[in-house]
Symmetry: D3
Subunit: 298 residues, 6 copies
């Protein structure tokens, strides 16, 4: 009998995955899903495949998604003008209404994609099960409307869905003391959820390769940082643009009990799998301390 | 000590509720929520209060809601024209996209209202947990787009949410074999869910007082019918307009295991409570047979 | 359709009950049942209705009953003389035998009344499941026979009955180290049970309106007291008769973890419902401190 | 080291018990407790020891007790005359009241004796948990008052107590459709309970050695009978006195699913242990058929 | 950032495995492990890796192993002569003693190899938990000693180990009515276990490529057969040597509820993975009928 | 009816066992089984009967066995020479191979004997479920091969087997960091298991009567010692031969949470039963302190 060519290589790849599967067995992995990986149809399909594979080999993945570009598109469609202050969308009541509609539509389309691969997903917002309680977030002191900062997470509904073997997909809206609806930055929501669930891993799919020591030197990509190094970097003031709040989020998450945070390049196909199932990983990893890391790999 | 006036009457009302609470203890009650009761803010609040009370005294209520008027409003908002064939909305892809957004927005607003009364709700669509599988529904042979007919219900996610003590609120979208999204008539969805859950009671909140023997004679309201009487009525051809498919739905639900179906006037405040907690009830009740009914009240 | 007159008021009363039902969901409420409410057939029926309603709307009520007058009647019936020292019945062995018989008869008649309303009750004494261990209680140093002071509560059987959804009805007898049977004052037994179960509420049905600041001034009824105020009152020495040990009992119960204690006038029909389902309540409430109370109502 | 004399014999006796312990592991054994074994203090203690031992080695024993003599004594004590028709006590309302008091007193004294040996007992009547529903039993067509015939057993409370590892002790009172209290013959109650629980064994402690082929010939004791032989014997009309209804009871119990019924001489110390832990057994055993019995001993 | 070369291919292989992982999620796969794959150290390691991977991605694998060559080696070591009749080892008492020792040694060495990869294995024989009851197997009417034919499987211990997440490794010894120890052919034991567990798959690791239509024509390898084709083949009498009883075993297993049986070439590295994770598979598959198979792949 | 002679004595013996059965209900008892009791067929049968009886009356017995003499016999059989250093067998790789085979054979023969009495046993080694992790044990600094000292016990598999009602029988082999197999002294293994399981009792079956104050004076047998007395005795240096490490083992076990350790004379038939079911017990008992012991017997 002649074997299919390349078949032995397939077996080898599967066997190589063994220790990674083992390490994350029944561990919670929160994936912040956004950016290009949410726009390009091919990348989208690959992210979903990755997450479904993680589920099937015994991880407990949770998706938290954004929807920024799609919201802007619909705001335009009904003849309104998107308006931003300090990078945050000014969210008056009509905008909030559209944002909620769009985020839930995105949510259900992700549910559908996961279902299609044979794993049952359930899409929830931060209002379901009273999960994400928040308060108004000001942008440099300015009131920008229904933009929320998470003040409390009730993770019960997530635990229940995981227990019943569903894949939870979370859309970042929440509610305040008066049960008004708020839009929450998806990075913030992912951090809040990962922290409340004491996740083993929190992975951000971004549109950059990772964190650069010097943003202008593409050779200076950092493949890993301890949380202290990351804090020093943040404090140094050299970090620009969107990376600063994201990195601070990562630091906070680790200090609150998340084991590792990853900043991945969502433009690379199957970046999640590559990060998890290869020794070198990709992107930038932030973790508690060098010692622990060694122990963790032991 | 002087007692607050009327206080003894309060006690009496509570005590009167005793046998009704007992009869429905842990029983599933599906409420199809739509029509005026969903537009008028006062009625809306009262429906939610009723459902929350049912939950708190030990029933297992499930809400299935529609969103027709709101969908039309948003279709207009983006500059499209709503189009109907035989009473069913022609649902091309852009319309379906809007319908899904609007239905999920309505869904989350109901979740919020229930949460506000201290009971945790979870809003799901028929796509979540692969709950409502459907196929294209034709209107008199005509293809009207993404309008679905339920072919299979997987009630697992509803059972799981009930077990975990959440109040499920269901938005009537589903998916077909190719994982396309469909809009399902909310009456149909409520019937399908009630049947799959073997509900004790299925209550339709409508904009009519109930079923009239003679639609032109407001005195001819029928307070109850057996399923056979209802079928004869449907077959007689004298039944007009929107009531015909609704009544056929009721009949089918009873024949598939739902114990009682109620057509209620959603314009009456607290119509749900009144139906359940008074001997005479309100609206029209359809049940299996006169004999069983006597036993049921025994 | 014309609605039954007054029907809307019924709905309003039920809706008003909502927050109270919510507040006590799955909370333990111990009812010390005695006095006139146990003699008058109408009052008796109403107390049972109240307790059954509490059970059905999700509370976990437990009845602890006395039987003093009935014991005296039977002691007389067999030609013996009741004999009291310091308000406590001198309980020699023949008296104890009769007391146990009578208390168990009362117990089973209460079980029957609850059953009749469709809720399954189980009557147990402090000997069942070795629940109430006690030692001899002296009255001013005098040996008054088999009158017991509770030294230890094993609440397992109560937890088990509640878990299995039975309504426990407890008859106040116990046993000592030598497995002799003792009569326990029903107030003491109710306190011991409420304390061991960390009850949310302990309600005494008495034959007075509540605690008066000045017993001779019927206008001076206190509607609430903190535990410190109650202790000061007890220590002041102005409190007379049967109220003194009862109030001390209330104080001890709160200091051992019971959240609120109520002294109710059992002669008012449905006094339990009125206390729980109205904002003002009736009788006298004793609780831990004014602060906590505010929080509790928040 | 010199061993205590006789110690080896002790070990041998324990080892001999092995197969019997194995055979009845987790099996339900209902003991109808009455007659002399309930009057003589020594016999009483031994019956309780036997039952406690059965419990501790893994059986699930249930006691159903009578109280006939004690009831008569108390009827007399209050100046009433006991009155019998056809061997059944005429039970008017005052008699029923006394009977219930006495039966519950007996019940609690048995609870105490079991507790004293370190096993937790719970005493219940047929009214608790709505266990024994009954209707009036006529004696040769004559109304003899509150004497009940069991019409339905709800064994839930017994299952729950067994699950929670309590030893249930049942006092034979029940209730009818109008929730009136009835006295049930303890033999009847034991049969009803054994049948409802599909007991492995039902043992009657009586004041006779067993069933005699010829009552006048003490050598004619039958050590075992099939249910058909027993029925033939009953039908032959030669069986006298109290044995006839008891034997019919045994037959009915076996036909309804009880595996074996034993008529034991309660005057023999430890008769229960002797029946269970010796090959020959004592008294008369009734079982389904000779074939099954062989299988049963295989 | 430059990605490791070949890394994308790795991701692709993992994603390809997705549907196979899904199909066998929580399904029982029995692996009969023997032949060259048990002698060659490399092959051995690869088989264990394969089984561990199956376990980690959610299958429920069970290993049943043989030990023929090693038994012969030890029989020789103590100076005895192995003796065979009709391909079956004549197993007198001293041989049985050695066989049991060797099989258990092999068993524990496999346990160790699995443990080493981080999955907890538990090795048991057919005597543990009274799992494999058997009777003497005659070889053409001749008594060949302690060679057993399985008469009854008690799979409780296997279910318990799977429930507790252990990987069961079974050594093929059993016991008869007199509790004598028997050696069971490992193929027979694997079939008996797979049948009792209603396995989804039973895979034999052999030293042949599979079943040939014509043994002399290496091109005639059959990649699949229905159970009827397999039976016809067996009945045709053209099948030679060791394949005949193995194929009959396969047929019996399928007829008793195993879904698919595979005859694999254990000399191919990772043959288990290749069979399960590739569409074409390898070796020969036997299944119930062509129709079912199509359904199965649908 | 004439009772079998001696039958009353039987009942008395069973009743005497009552308090002992009660005291050890669901308690873990580890039996180190070795010495003569493992060689003599009668003693063997009696030990197994004892352990089975303990299991049936509600204890949770665990057997840990040795196999020294049988190992030597087989080492000889294959033409090798047993070799000892400081009382410990020098265990090179071929010896270890034989030791493992023999220990597992002994293990399965004990499983069989227990099964035969109707209780399901499961035999496991310290490699199964990765139970006994160890490191090399040196004898006076000398490397004696694969002799292991337990460094960590993972008792999960034992808990699981007990939960599923199996009787665990443990063979004293373990594994080191490199997954090499080690022979563990059975006394050490029993101590490690008893400690990890927080056993109520650890009983050593030995070939001596117990501990003598003066080994040459057979009258000086100690029937009990506190752990401090035992330590003082060990430290005194007067204790000879094999008893010293055994006594040190006992002391360590008690200091790590085992309640009582017994050194029994395995040559006395049913020594286990006699120790447990008689007040005086036999052999030497070591326990924590005199005070605790009194409490324990209270």
């Amino acid at each position: 009998m002649e074997l299919e060519p390349g078949i032995m290589h397939k077996a080898a790849v599967l066997i190589e995955a063994l220790p990674y599967i083992q390490r994350f067995n029944r561990k919670i992995v929160v994936v912040k899903y956004g950016g290009s990986a949410m726009v390009d149809e091919n990348l989208k399909k690959q992210v979903i495949q990755d997450v479904v594979l993680l589920k099937l080999v015994g991880f407990k993945p949770i998706i938290v998604h954004g929807g920024g570009k799609e919201i802007s598109r619909w705001v335009g469609k009904v003849g309104m003008e998107p308006h931003f202050v300090g990078g945050l969308r000014v969210t008056d009541e009509p905008t909030m209404e559209i944002a909620e509609m769009v985020l839930n539509k995105v949510n259900k389309s992700l549910v559908q994609l996961v279902n299609e691969l044979g794993v049952k997903a359930v899409g929830i917002s931060g209002k379901d099960g009273m999960m994400l309680r928040c308060k108004k977030k000001y942008s440099g002191g300015e009131d920008i409307g229904y933009v929320g900062e998470v003040t409390e997470v009730d993770p019960q509904i997530i635990y229940d869905l995981l227990e019943k073997d569903f894949l939870p997909i979370i859309c970042p809206t929440g509610f305040d003391e008066e049960f008004k609806t708020y839009n929450i930055n998806a990075d913030d929501a992912a951090c809040a959820v990962a922290t409340a669930m004491k996740a083993e891993k929190l992975a951000f799919l971004t549109d950059v390769e990772g964190v650069y020591r010097d943003f202008n030197d593409k050779e200076s990509l950092l493949s890993e940082m301890t949380v202290d190094e990351a804090q020093a970097f943040v404090d140094s003031g050299t970090l620009g643009g969107g990376m600063l709040p994201k990195l601070q989020n990562c630091i906070d998450a680790i200090r609150s009990g998340v084991s590792r945070v990853h900043i991945l390049d969502g433009r690379i196909p199957h970046c999640l799998l590559l990060e998890i199932f290869t020794d070198k990983g990709i992107g930038t990893a932030i973790f508690n301390s060098a010692e622990e890391e060694r122990y963790y790999h032991g």
